[in-house]
């Protein structure tokens, strides 16, 4: 960053090496091009120069004093020396001073072996010190927040963490407190350091001052086996290193140079949500329901039971009696093979959509992540990308903070990002707020099809260049669509004239008794589909439900047959991220004994059923071809078959122009939710979202409740009881907001926009009485 490339080149000589670089290039970057290392602590390519640490001193001909390479743009004819007595002495002095109060506790420091202070002290330090006084004592093992521990004594006050917090996510929580040698890093407010990107500071920290709670005292870098893979926790698909020791995934790290996808950052879910892999609750044996209870069986028996059931249903009800749900959490190869297998049997009821999302592929107006940065206006429609695709949200923040883009959110439910944003209620207001922006990015959650269509039409009416993005509810949602996990399109979005049933239609048919066998792969509709009652009715009615998952999820608990499946960290294949990039997934660890990947499950089932599957090579070619296909569609297009949804009460009301003066429920998205990887990672306990109901001030007054009080929400038989209240001044009266995907208090008990009865919780009333 920090320089504008005008195309003009200048010549600079560094250690005798002449070099042509764009005018304005910082010396520290120019040296890299010449293959010369200039040590840095405070400087970081993504954060720019700060000029604090003073380790990057170089000698520039014609200048009497040593200069810092990090803030010196090269000029034509500049002659630079990064070696020599003067530089050596300067660097050695700075290093000596860093170590004056440094505890030198390398033997117990997590950073040991990958510490810039250690490395530079070895390379450029004096080796001895004249220090004769005791070292300063500062706080150690400071609990900075749910993710990070701070050791003040190791801190060299480079302020990378502070600058990251201000410049990249714009959170501005970290500050330097005190002054001079008493400097400490802390949050400005004294509250725990908490947002969705905190873990990045542990990577930025050049020393061992900021360490991750999940990795403390676990390993040495040289003991780690590193695998480069793609994160599948969300639809951004950040490149990441998975570092493994003795078969356990201990940490994930960003991949330097991954500018196209992650921009060098990871969110805390992608970084820290890895403990589930070795969770005790992990399924390691197929389970078969017998007389109402699960019995562990072996794979051969499981696959044969399943095949028998399928054959029976096919015979009895035909292919229409079989349903397949899932795909957004599978790899492309698995999704491809599964749809191939089921379609070979004539089964057409295939749909990846198991939650609220209805579309995952934006079509040929889809933008890449870099284009998002260049947008003049960004309109967010639906779930906050900050909760659903955090690293994509960093691009939005970059566009706003660095490039002055205007951010407009239509009827948002989530809290605003820490950057300027305009919240509006309608598409018309959004267009007014955008002004005449020529490049508009639309970031949609794929849920409200009608609003998306209207927004696209409004942008087109303005003649704006449009880039669209759909954040996926599941990491490989777009891959699932491309691979044909849709009722009316096959691999590569090939239209299937004889479409099958969508998830919604399947669930209805199932509840009516028309489905004899249902297979659910990596999906938890009982927690995520916006009508839990329908899902429950369907699961209860279908005679044979097979669920493949890592854990005994809400949905799996209702299954006839539960198949222990592998996670992406345990298998090889590809995914397609929200912006259409085909990304490799590599196995970092082996799956536990008894666990199969969905690919292996598909192959096993195919063998049982006598279906011939394409070879690995053929699958690979098909996946690449399908990933390259670009459907002619835009946001809100229903190309994927019946996208009709469970009764959307609010939409009914909108159409009818009616608005009852009652409290309606809305559902917001939060990053740390779900009944699978998040629920079964004990180290995420402090990060997991907890259910509460956000209430408008007026509604709270009417109910007689205050912040922290508890309420019961009831509709007929369905009830969520004893929910804490959070009064929210920004909320419109008449709307109450629950968080989606909380296992112990699932919001999908209620329909979107449903009018509910809310009363003070009986327990609370009793206490008061």
């Amino acid at each position: 960053m920090a320089h504008q490339d005008s195309g003009e080149k200048v010549t600079v000589t560094i250690d005798g090496i002449p070099l042509q670089v764009p005018k304005g290039t910082l010396l520290v970057e120019a040296a890299k091009l010449a293959g010369i290392e200039i040590p840095v602590y405070c400087y970081h390519t993504k954060l720019g120069p700060a000029g604090l640490c003073r380790i990057c001193l170089v000698e520039i001909e014609g200048m009497p004093k040593l200069q810092i390479a990090c803030n010196t743009p090269v000029t034509d004819g500049m002659v630079v020396r990064t070696q020599g007595d003067k530089v050596t002495t300067g660097r050695a002095t700075v290093l000596e001073l860093f170590l004056v109060n440094h505890p030198l506790d390398c033997p117990i420091c997590d950073k040991g072996g990958e510490c810039d202070l250690q490395d530079y002290a070895m390379a450029y330090g004096r080796g001895t010190s004249d220090l004769a006084d005791p070292k300063e004592r500062k706080p150690k093992a400071v609990d900075l927040g749910p993710t990070i521990v701070l050791d003040e004594e190791r801190c060299i006050v480079c302020q990378r963490c502070v600058r990251f917090d201000a410049l990249i996510p714009g959170e501005r929580r970290l500050v330097v407190k005190e002054r001079g040698h008493r400097d400490i890093i802390a949050t400005a407010t004294g509250e725990p350091y908490r947002h969705h990107f905190t873990g990045n500071v542990t990577e930025l920290c050049p020393v061992g001052a900021l360490t991750s709670k999940t990795y403390r005292f676990l390993s040495r870098p040289w003991d780690l086996q590193r695998t480069e893979t793609s994160c599948v926790h969300c639809s951004v698909g950040c490149r990441q290193y998975a570092d493994v020791r003795y078969g356990t995934l201990l940490r994930t790290m960003s991949v330097p140079g991954d500018d196209a996808i992650s921009d060098g950052w990871l969110c805390d879910r992608g970084r820290y949500n890895i403990g589930f892999l070795s969770a005790r609750e992990r399924l390691t044996q197929p389970l078969h329901r017998r007389d109402g209870a699960f019995v562990a069986i072996d794979w051969e028996e499981a696959l044969s039971l399943w095949a028998d059931a399928l054959r029976a249903v096919l015979k009895e009800k035909g292919a229409a009696g079989v349903g397949v749900i899932g795909g957004g959490r599978l790899l492309n190869e698995e999704a491809y093979l599964l749809q191939h297998l089921f379609r070979s049997l004539g089964i057409r009821n295939i749909d990846w959509r198991a939650g609220r999302q209805r579309q995952a592929t934006p079509g040929n107006d889809g933008g890449d992540l870099a284009a998002l940065e260049r947008a003049q206006a960004i309109v967010v429609l639906g779930a906050s990308p900050g909760e659903r695709a955090p690293v994509l949200d960093l691009r939005i923040r970059k566009a706003v903070m660095r490039n002055g883009a205007r951010l407009v959110r239509i009827a948002p439910l989530e809290a605003p990002p820490p950057i300027p944003a305009t919240d509006v209620a309608t598409v018309e207001e959004a267009m007014a707020a955008i002004g005449g922006a020529g490049r508009i990015a639309i970031v949609w959650d794929g849920v409200d099809v009608e609003l998306a269509r209207r927004l696209v039409a409004a942008c087109d009416a303005q003649g704006a260049e449009r880039f669209t993005y759909i954040t996926g509810e599941q990491g490989n949602a777009r891959g699932a669509e491309a691979m044909g996990m849709l009722p009316s399109s096959g691999p590569g979005y090939a239209s299937l004239p004889e479409g099958g049933l969508s998830t919604d239609a399947m669930l209805r048919a199932a509840a009516d008794g028309a489905i004899g066998a249902l297979a659910i792969f990596g999906a938890n509709p009982l927690l995520r589909y916006p009508d839990a009652a329908l899902v429950r009715a369907a699961l209860e009615r279908v005679p044979f439900v097979a669920v493949a998952d890592l854990f005994l999820t809400e949905t799996a608990r209702q299954a006839t047959l539960v198949l222990p499946a592998a996670h992406a960290y345990e298998k090889r294949g590809t995914i397609i991220n929200a912006t259409g990039s085909l990304l490799p997934v590599e196995p970092a660890v082996a799956a536990p004994d008894g666990v199969l990947s969905d690919l292996e499950i598909a192959i096993g089932l195919a063998q049982q059923l006598g279906v011939a599957l394409p070879s690995e090579e053929e699958v690979h070619r098909a996946v690449v071809a399908a990933a390259a296909a670009m459907p002619e569609l835009t946001l809100g297009d229903v190309l994927f078959g019946d996208a009709a949804r469970a009764r959307d009460v609010a939409a009914d009301d909108r159409r009818n122009g009616e608005s009852a003066a009652a409290i309606r429920l809305a559902v917001e998205t939060a990053l740390f939710t779900g009944g699978g990887t998040c629920a079964h990672d004990e180290r995420l306990a402090a990060l997991r979202a907890r259910q509460r109901v956000r209430l408008a001030v007026d509604d709270a007054r009417v109910l007689g409740v205050r912040d922290g009080d508890r309420v019961d929400i009831v509709v007929g038989e369905r009830a969520l009881r004893d929910l804490p209240v959070a009064v929210d001044a920004s909320l419109r009266a008449g709307t109450a907001v629950l968080i989606d995907g909380i296992p112990d208090r699932p919001a999908n008990l209620f329909l979107p926009g449903e009018v509910v009865q809310m009363t003070r919780a009986r327990a609370a009333v009793a206490v008061e009485a």
């Binding site: 000029g51 604090l52 640490c53 001193l57 002095t93 700075v94 004249d130 220090l131 006050v157 400097d183």
Partner: protein, 421 residues
């Protein structure tokens, strides 16, 4: 005796804090003339021609500094630096309290000279009385239309905002000041960009010292030639020198630039009877000492630099033969270590380390090797820092270490009679 009365004229004789008194003595005439008859370029030309150099410490030519402002339609700001905190300096404090209207008139002229419509004065937190006095003066001037929108019906708008600091030496550094003025932590900024390009709120900004701005009033009144005719070849005009230390009448003395050092000591009443001069710190806590062999040097920027020191802000501290230079050095190093903002390593770590070693010396617990360490570390941290604070630690220490090594040697364990226990 060459003591003159220019900015100090009337102080002690009349209550210059009253606008009527100030005006009766010719005050605000130059502001009225400038805003009605002169163009900003005229004011700049006069300042440039006068040879006026910054009185805050760096001595940078004021007219040149103004010319660094890029031509643009962006708002531009004048900031008056009244964070006077250099050890030994107390001239701005006096001007603020005793001649606030001259300070204000200087600010108005300076702002006009750079065609700014908003000026700020950043007043050191400890100057509460000065803040009150200046604020009252500002209200008086505003009441008669010298400040605000449409100054004196000319159509020129000029707002002046008074800001009190919170008491940090580093906020006297111009970019530390700007950060503090913006409500941020008072830390110097990385340069470039310089304030002339991106200063207050990212806009082109000139930061000038109180005394510097105040001198613009007499420069316009009597002409730049009058100012330039006094002083030495490159150090023009007058200077208020804050003389303190071992003299009989410490105080602020306004003198022509180039007044011999010896005379400055005499002006302040000379040494106490029976005492001999050991050293003079001629430019504030940041400057190296000069000694008796320098007594006949003219007190100007060039001569002080040649003598290995600097004129700085004009804080002139005299040390006689009763001085414990170990304590003096410790006192100053402690000051700088305490005031280090902590941003950059050499200043943050080096200053504190030197302070701790010197503290041992004060208590007679110096160690063999410490003297070499003091020399080496103080020397090596100089020139490595982001701002001038880190480079201010060495000069005094080094100059007295060299001149009075016996005072330090005597505090080394085993050489001081106290001996190692």
């Amino acid at each position: 005796m060459p003591v003159v009365k220019v900015l100090t004229a009337g102080i002690g004789e009349a209550d210059l804090r009253e606008i009527a008194t100030y005006e009766a003595r010719g005050g605000y005439r130059q502001w009225k003339r400038a805003v009605r008859e002169l163009s900003p370029a005229d004011v700049l030309k006069a300042v440039d021609a006068s040879g006026l150099r910054g009185r805050g410490g760096a001595g940078f030519p004021t007219g040149r500094k103004w010319q660094f402002l890029p031509a643009s339609d962006a708002p531009r700001y004048l900031v008056c630096n009244c964070d006077e905190a250099e050890p030994g300096t107390f001239k701005d404090h006096m001007l603020l309290e005793e001649n606030p209207h001259a300070v204000l008139e200087g600010i108005l002229l300076g702002a006009y000279g750079i065609a700014s419509h908003h000026a700020f004065i950043y007043i050191r937190g400890e100057f509460k009385r000065g803040y009150q006095i200046f604020s009252r003066a500002l209200e008086q001037a505003r009441a008669v239309g010298y400040v605000g929108t449409n100054v004196l019906g000319t159509g020129y708008d000029l707002e002046v905002t008074v800001h009190r600091g919170a008491g940090a030496y580093i906020c006297g550094e111009e970019t530390g000041l700007l950060n503090s003025l913006e409500g941020k932590r008072g830390e110097p900024r990385l340069k470039p960009p310089f304030p002339a390009v991106a200063g207050l709120y990212g806009m082109p900004t000139v930061v000038n010292n109180v005394e510097t701005l105040a001198y613009i009033v007499p420069i316009l009144e009597r002409g730049p030639e009058w100012f330039a005719s006094v002083g030495t070849e490159r150090s023009k005009g007058y200077k208020i020198v804050s003389v303190s230390g071992h003299v009989q009448r410490p105080g602020n003395y306004e003198v022509p630039m180039g007044t011999p050092v010896r005379e400055l000591v005499e002006i302040a009443g000379g040494l106490r009877p029976g005492r001999t001069l050991k050293a003079i710190q001629p430019g504030g806590g940041s400057s190296a000492c000069i000694f008796e062999e320098h007594l006949d040097l003219p007190y100007d920027y060039e001569s002080m630099a040649k003598a290995g020191s600097m004129l700085g802000s004009g804080a002139f501290v005299v040390f006689d033969d009763t001085t414990d230079f170990v304590k003096a050095a410790h006192n100053l190093v402690r000051f700088f270590a305490h005031e280090s903002c902590g941003q950059c390593t050499p200043c943050r770590e080096g200053g504190h380390w030197l302070e701790r070693v010197l503290e041992r010396f004060v208590h007679g617990r110096g160690l063999p090797g410490d003297l070499e360490m003091l020399h080496r570390v103080s020397g090596s941290i100089t020139g490595l820092n982001l701002c001038a604070l880190g480079d201010s630690i060495e000069p005094f220490l080094k100059s007295v270490l060299r001149r009075f090594p016996e005072q330090f040697e005597a505090r080394v364990i085993g050489r001081n009679g106290v001996a190692a226990r």
